[in-house]
Subunit: 235 residues, 2 copies
């Protein structure tokens, strides 16, 4: 936790915030926070600064918050991610957020098991928590927009054309003729398939929508590793 | 597991291998392996191919192995990684291996807690297992060379000059004047510091040895995310 992300409900008065639960346990245990010390803080979707700790007991931490910095710019990246299996979802969401993706769409694909869509990890609470963890890691405050696209065809036909407008749309597909480009000079929409890969028909549907298939090399990487590698290459 | 990595002791006869334990549980449970089916296999530090399953019971799987492919080339990358805390070590080793790093050095730094060097995760068995997991993920057979450098100064003075010869030596350091270069045209030696960063004196010592400090941007990334992003950028 390189930044404590604060929400409106954490403020008990203007400029005074209170922590309990997970964040308190972390800053007390790992950061060894103490009264008089200060923490890097930020307000969700707002500015960043320091919190001076004015009270600390086993259940509560209070601080005076001064916000004097803007958060870092988001990457101009819309990530279209085939819904990963639940175990991988948390890591992938936190990694995508920490890398700075502006928007994340979790989409269905033929090789996404139906049961994944029933995972408790798709609760609003967990989808928020994983993004918060990514922001806390990367010292950012701006939550990436998140959408769930339960129906591939509907999303690709009805919503994707508007989302991808004025971007470079790429779909990661092993064996594609072109490698992933470097240093994209414009915003990117990047589609990454499920563990078993996209069906050829799914790639074809994306190509018809304007996407360019790109190859990532011989190695099969975990989704969060592939994602970080692509972001490093593209931006 | 996209490839089952086999070791000499797995062979019960030429071309016949037997699996038990972790690998059996994985291919039986996740891959739903069955007699007559086949698996992608590779021999540690050797060739890759298919294994035709000839016997499967709850404790043993046997297969006939035919090896007809070379493993993918390693990345010309020596990674000098400040020893991460134990929880992070496994992920970082598996990720570095899956990305194809040819050599990994786990090195001490001022901000590496001494207790990390006593972690059971530094056992030979675990250090091998994490690299095997990375190879199984990325369909590779060649174990990256691994060294433990318990003493920063000794390693940097006595061993590093030979290791980094004819490579581009880079040290990741937030706030460095230069960004990380793209598309390195030669092998790279890449030093990544601990969670709290390198001391200035440590960076200085590396600079005196020939390293160039490079900045990675505003965001603080987990070591395995930073690593993947740098590899995507450099290669």
């Amino acid at each position: 936790m390189n930044l404590v992300l604060l929400f409106e409900q954490d403020f008990i008065a203007p400029g005074r915030a209170r922590l309990e639960g997970r964040r308190l346990a972390h800053v007390a245990g790992i950061h060894r926070a103490a009264v008089g010390g200060s923490l890097m803080v930020g307000v969700a979707n707002g500015r960043m600064g320091r919190g001076l700790i004015t009270r600390l007991d086993p259940t509560t931490l209070e601080m005076e918050v001064a916000l004097d910095q803007d958060p870092p710019p988001k990457l101009p990246l819309t990530l279209i991610l085939a819904l990963p299996r639940p175990k991988v979802l948390n890591r992938a969401l936190a990694a995508a957020t920490s890398l700075g993706a502006a928007r994340i769409v979790l989409i269905n694909a033929w090789k996404v098991e139906k049961s994944y869509w029933k995972s408790p990890r798709l609760s609003d609470e967990n989808l928020l928590l994983q993004r918060v963890l990514g922001l806390e890691q990367s010292k950012d405050t701006v939550l990436p927009e998140l959408r769930l696209a339960r129906f591939f065809k509907t999303f690709v036909e009805d919503e994707l054309p508007a989302l991808m407008k004025n971007t470079l749309p790429l779909v990661a597909h092993p064996g594609a003729a072109d490698p992933c480009p470097r240093d994209a000079a414009k915003p990117v929409t990047l589609a990454i398939g499920p563990e078993g890969g996209w069906l050829d028909a799914e790639v074809q549907r994306l190509v018809e929508t304007g996407f360019q298939p790109v190859d990532l090399g011989h190695r099969i990487l975990r989704v969060e590793t592939a994602l970080a590698s692509l972001v490093g290459r593209l931006f």
